[in-house]
Amino acid sequence: MNRVRASLFVLLLATALPASADIAVVVNKDSGISHVSRSDAINIFMGRYRKLPNGHLALPIDLTPLKARFYRALVNKDLATVNSYWARLVFSGEASPPQQLKNEAEVLELISNNANTLGYMDSAHVTSDVHVVLILGE
């Protein structure tokens, strides 16, 4: 009976909890950056102030399949609102949006080639090629 109860409990946990993974903000593993605060990440990805903790200019990357979840987790805005925000900045010539990449392989490649890039990916897919600087829970 106890075993049945225990397995029911595990089943309940399994269906209730881990369905959506977190999003990991990642940098080049040799960049020397250990941590990026949430407000720094907002400043960098929203084009307000693109400075890495090591003082370098930050180059953010968007991963298009994950973009809607990422901005919901970062600034609690839907993609239409984020795009509308960027339309103002782009077409007034104030700032350029993050570079748009289609898959995680491209993100990993760019990050390993440039120490100033900052990207994000599903935390379940993080490899040893990159260093996680911020976890965004959903």
Binding site: K51, G93, S96, Q100
Partner: protein
């Protein structure tokens, strides 16, 4: 160009429409193409005056439907030379001072970002005189079909040829920005259907201080415009012919718009579904008149819907005198934006306008038109890619 051509090009660009706003043209993504556009349809209820979006439009929208007032198309190309240098070129086709949709170079500048705290730009730049003023044609960026005419309709310039510098300084999670700019410019505005003023702006300079904290953003700005104005059209010809004097100093004395000082205060609040925006401005002319304007807008996002309400007002005052060039009106707007996909939005809006004195914010108005109501109904389709 015409509205029809804008429609055709928009249809051709349709498959591109989406959230990217920076389509890579080269393999490494260093050259990008992006664009924005509006297909706008406006219904004017009154046959007593024609509606204009801004004083650069020589003819207005007559009673009935018009697609000319708000429809436009813009294209931007960006080239990244290295991490610190990039070039941006942008063109726009809209119904403007040439009396047609002839494309115009809106920006062409080199941007230098030596550090995250400093941005320098030189070349042709947007006129960043008020919050929103350098993105006032990017319909996708705001909830309304067009920015409030009472506030933005009498703006004289769209771009400047010069340079600007922006300093940014984070204070905790707040951000303070200072932008300074200077340059020259030219433009044509229409005071009436048959009197145009060609602005040769030899000096335009100013700056603003911007403070962002949490969902709040404040902005305080000042700009001065110094222009040589050449007046053309039937009234100018009559003055030259019958009074035998140069019409330029004559109109400058009368209107006093060859030197302007523009003060502005802007405020936005953007948190979760709430979007508040408010602005007040005073433009002081060398003729000692003031043009005061302002607006307040509130929007609330519910999923793909963004219903909004707005109130705007403009009023002129000349100390110690009746001013026959005065204008004043107030507008009550209600509408909604619907985001079809990320990159495409549909809008509908009703404006109830109480016109005290139409001045040069209307065209072809009846002689005694004033102290009257007019109703505009507008539909818009905005896209970016």
């Amino acid at each position: 160009m015409s509205v029809l051509r804008i429609l055709l090009i928009s249809l051709m660009l349709w498959p591109l429409c989406g959230p990217a706003m920076a389509r890579a043209l080269t393999e490494d993504g260093s050259v990008t193409l992006s664009g924005f556009g509006t297909l706008g349809l406006l219904h004017n209820s009154t046959d007593e005056a024609e509606f204009i979006r801004d004083i650069g439009q020589p003819k207005g929208a007559d009673e009935g439907w018009s697609a000319r007032t708000d429809s436009l198309l813009g294209l931007q190309m960006g080239a990244r030379l290295n991490d610190e240098l990039d070039v941006v070129v942008q063109g726009i086709s809209r119904y403007h001072d040439t009396g047609n949709f002839r494309p115009e170079l809106s920006w062409a500048f080199l941007r230098y970002t030596p550090s995250p705290a400093v941005v320098l730009r030189a070349g042709r730049l947007g006129w960043d005189v008020y919050q929103l003023s350098d993105s006032r044609y990017v319909g996708y960026a705001y909830p309304w079909v067009r920015p409030p005419v009472d506030q933005f309709g009498s703006l004289q310039l769209s771009h400047i040829d010069g340079a600007d510098v922006t300093f940014k300084h984070p204070i905790g999670s707040d951000m303070i920005r200072l932008k300074l700019y200077a340059g020259r410019s030219d433009s044509t505005i229409f005071l009436t259907d048959d009197l145009e003023a060609d602005f040769d702006v030899d000096k335009v300079y100013g700056g603003h201080l911007d403070y962002e904290t949490g969902p709040w953003r404040f902005r305080l700005g000042y700009t001065e415009v110094d222009a040589d104005i050449h007046y053309a059209g039937a009234p100018a010809d009559l003055i030259r012919q019958y009074l035998r004097i140069d019409p330029d100093p004559f109109f400058n004395d009368m209107l006093g718009i060859d030197n302007l000082k523009l003060y502005s205060l802007g405020l936005t609040y953007d948190s979760g579904p709430y979007q508040w925006q408010a602005m007040v401005n005073r433009s002081h002319t060398v003729g000692d008149s003031d043009v005061d304007s302002g607006f307040v807008s509130f929007g609330y996002r519910v999923g793909q819907w963004l219903p909004f309400a707005m109130f705007s007002i403009v009023d002129t005052s000349t100390p110690g005198g009746e001013d026959q060039n005065a204008f004043g009106q107030r507008t009550y707007s209600l509408g909604a934006r619907y985001d079809v996909t990320p990159g495409i939005a549909l809008k509908a809006q009703v404006d109830r306008i109480h016109v005290d004195q139409p001045g040069f914010l209307w065209r072809n108005q009846d002689q005694d038109w004033g102290d009257s109501w007019a109703t505009m109904f507008s539909l818009g389709l905005d896209f970016v890619f």
